[in-house]
């Protein structure tokens, strides 16, 4: 199942991207997801042919290696081979914050409901998971407040506090 986050809503979508496995031929579909090494070897030709291309990054792959191609990529899929491997969170934040990527950032692999809030806060907006969209949405929104700025641009506690203080001052003024 693929859940997409769009305009604050989580909903199920048809996945139009075909993953290309190691050593497999590239499918005839319009949209494909390649590993970083396949993309580096064959991506240029596919893009030139007008195909939609996504890149699947292993945790150790460096997002820096995608910088030049980001504007042409439809999506970046970040893999969680084990859910305890947290490197993809930094990759997602960097894609969003450092490199301003506004395409899809998809979580793939061992994607559990307990990670929903981490992923959403780090800028993921698509999730390959067996969890249903309502449960996923509830888990992603479990925390009513957040303490730190991140890629989701939710106002951290310190911003909420200063806004509350300003409102109070305005009322009293």
């Amino acid at each position: 199942m693929l859940i997409r986050l769009e305009n604050d809503h989580f909903h199920l979508v048809e996945d139009r991207f075909a993953p290309v496995g190691e050593g497999e031929a590239i499918a005839d579909t319009v949209a494909v997801i390649l590993s970083l090494s396949r993309f580096q070897a064959e991506g240029e030709a596919l893009l030139a042919a007008g195909r939609d291309v996504g890149v699947r990054m292993a945790p150790a792959d460096r997002v820096e290696d995608l910088i030049c191609d980001l504007p042409r990529l439809a999506l970046v899929a970040l893999d969680f081979p084990k859910y305890r491997d947290g490197r993809a969170y930094s990759s997602a934040v960097m894609l969003r914050e450092t490199y301003g990527f506004d395409g899809e950032v998809r979580a793939v692999g061992d994607v559990l409901i307990d990670q929903a809030w981490n992923m959403v806060r780090c800028g993921f907006d698509a999730f390959e998971t067996s969890v249903g969209p309502n449960a996923w949405a509830a888990a992603a929104r479990r925390y009513r407040h957040v303490y730190q700025a991140s890629a989701d641009h939710r106002p951290p506690a310190f911003v909420e506090r200063s806004q509350a203080a300003r409102r109070l001052a305005a009322q009293e003024g």
């Binding site: 945790p59 947290g86 490197r87 969170y89 960097m94 450092t98 479990r142 925390y143 730190q148 506690a157």
Partner: protein, 553 residues
């Protein structure tokens, strides 16, 4: 002291609801133990030899009387009437039922307590100076910065699944009571020549099987950039720290393999690339946190207390005053240290009755404040010297007046094989044997400052690497043996101890310590601590004394 606002309370409530759900999914079998493990660990719940252990956070070691009473209640209602204060300034309850934990956490939340991030591969409780707000030499209150870090690190979305656990220490005094240089990040707050606050940033210290003293990568990071710079360090670590080998996953290994200079370059690069104004804490929030610690309502007192001096006619009080009370920044006050190292007792253990007595004493005589030290003792940071005799009497009534702070029997020991699934050897009986060997308080005072630290395995939870004398339990063909190290320090003169010689059997350890102390007493020069003498003479005379018999044999 700092109090939660509605947002802080909501954070804890939301976490508790999440954890209650996770526990019920585990109990129903929807979650496997393997899936549940990282989740329960992030809520401080360990599966130990005999039962679950719940580790409750005591942020930067600061407790109020109300919080202490809540801990006493947990000890009595859900545990066996006691708790164990740890070297990370937290408290552990060793006999908790899994099905009770959601209720325990909800109860703790009523007293602004929780178990968030007390274990797991995330940013743990920040260590800070137990004398914060009381020490004359501090340049700022380190609790303010520790609270800044607490909030930033709580549920940090990017840094919840790090390669390994991550510990930060903050001190603002030249005297380091936090072991800052043995932390993943040590932060030493200072003022520069222009009077601006900044942090010396030390990275990559740690104990475990490969101990390191951390390297300084910034001499003076402007204090206002603390959070963005921490984010940069953590990002480098999260991305490049090793994940293939549990024992090589701490940041110290990354810093050592890259070199401190290269690590600093990567951190700076990440820092430059960041939207720093968005990551850093605005001044107004820093001011709010600073204000929320409030001011302690100290009285104006003469520096010399006649009542305090007169009470020294009592030998027991005089000894307590000499060893456990140190000067306060405010005239007429003292910092009272409460030893949890009673002779023959388990280091760090505290009964519910003792917790309640401490809560009462703190409320009556100590502005309601209690601190936990990383050496597993407690502190009443603000006691008027006039009240010190009454505090001493109150402590003595519950068996907490042991006058041995920094002395030989004031040891750190991990729970060891008596409780811990990882241990190779027992630690507590060794500590007990040593403290019985040095039960004579006159001799202990004659020996002076001597920090003995005992770990039951190579994970070094007992900080043996930085003990003036370190003791490491090892398994030799199914038997418990102990390796001694000398010359370590976790303080501002941080150093890793050196192995003395072949490991000793359990029954020889206390005797070996006795011999080491005899050598020290025989060769020390005026004013020299054990550590100073060792550093002057080297290992020679100490090694000879302990292994003399072996050579003869």
């Amino acid at each position: 002291m700092f109090q939660y606002d509605a947002i802080d309370a909501a954070m804890v409530a939301d976490r508790n609801a999440e954890f209650r759900d996770q526990v019920s999914r585990r109990l129903s079998g929807e979650l496997t133990e393997d899936q549940f493990k990282p989740l329960r660990l992030m809520n401080g719940l360990y599966l130990q030899l005999h039962s679950y252990m719940l580790r409750v956070a005591i942020p930067y070691g600061a407790l109020s009387s109300a919080k202490m009473r809540a801990l006493a209640h947990v000890a009595r209602r859900w545990d066996r009437g006691y708790g164990h204060f740890t070297t990370r300034q937290n408290i552990q309850f060793h006999w908790i039922k899994l099905s009770d934990t959601p209720d325990v956490l909800d109860y703790l939340a009523t007293a602004e307590l929780h178990a968030i991030q007390t274990s797991g591969n995330c940013i743990r409780n920040t260590t800070s100076d137990p004398f914060a707000g009381a020490a004359a030499e501090e340049v700022d209150d380190p609790r303010v910065w520790s609270e800044v870090i607490r909030q930033w690190s709580t549920f940090h979305p990017e840094f919840t699944y790090l390669p390994r656990k991550f510990k930060i220490a903050v001190t603002a005094s030249p005297r380091d009571r936090t072991a800052a240089r043995a932390h993943d990040i040590g932060l030493v707050l200072r003022r520069n020549r222009e009077g601006r606050l900044g942090f010396e940033v030390i990275v990559g210290g740690g104990m475990g099987r490969t101990p390191y003293i951390g390297a300084t990568i910034r001499e003076h990071l402007p204090a206002e950039h603390l959070l963005s710079y921490l984010t940069a360090i953590l990002r480098v670590y999260n991305r490049f720290g090793r994940r293939d080998n549990l024992y090589k996953a701490r940041i110290k290994i990354l810093v050592a393999s890259l070199g401190a200079a290269e690590f600093a370059r990567l951190a700076d690069e990440a820092w430059e690339a960041m939207d720093r104004p968005r990551a850093d804490l605005p001044d107004v929030e820093l001011a709010r946190i600073r204000a929320s610690f409030g001011l302690v309502d100290f009285r104006t007192l003469p520096p010399r207390s006649e009542r305090f001096e007169a009470a020294k006619g009592d030998k027991a009080f005089a000894r307590f005053a000499r060893n456990n009370i140190v000067p306060h920044k405010v005239p007429g006050y003292g910092i009272v240290q409460v030893s949890l190292k009673g002779i023959g007792e388990v280091p760090g253990d505290c009964t519910a009755d003792q917790m309640e007595a401490l809560a009462d004493l703190a409320e009556r005589y100590g502005h309601g404040e209690i601190r936990v030290t990383h050496e597993q003792n407690l502190v009443l940071p603000h006691v008027a010297l006039d009240d010190a005799p009454a505090v001493h009497a109150g402590l003595a009534a519950v068996g907490l007046a042991t006058p041995n702070i920094n002395l030989v029997s004031d040891m750190i020991a991990c729970p060891g094989l008596d409780y811990c699934a990882l241990a190779n050897a027992r630690a507590i009986p060794i500590a007990q044997a040593i403290s019985e060997t040095f039960a004579d308080p006159d001799r202990a005072e004659q020996v002076g400052e001597l920090k003995i630290k005992i770990s039951g395995c190579i994970n070094a939870c007992g900080h043996h690497h930085v003990g003036h004398i370190g003791i490491l339990g090892v398994d030799k063909k199914g038997e418990e043996y102990y390796q001694l190290t000398l010359g370590g320090s976790g303080a501002e003169d941080a150093a890793i101890g050196h192995v003395l010689g072949p490991a000793l059997s359990a029954d020889r350890v206390a005797d070996a310590i006795d011999k080491l102390v005899d050598v020290y007493l025989a060769i020390r020069q005026p004013q020299e601590r054990f550590l100073d003498t060792y550093r002057r003479t080297g290992v020679g005379p100490f090694k000879a004394a302990v292994y003399q018999d072996a050579h003869q044999a």
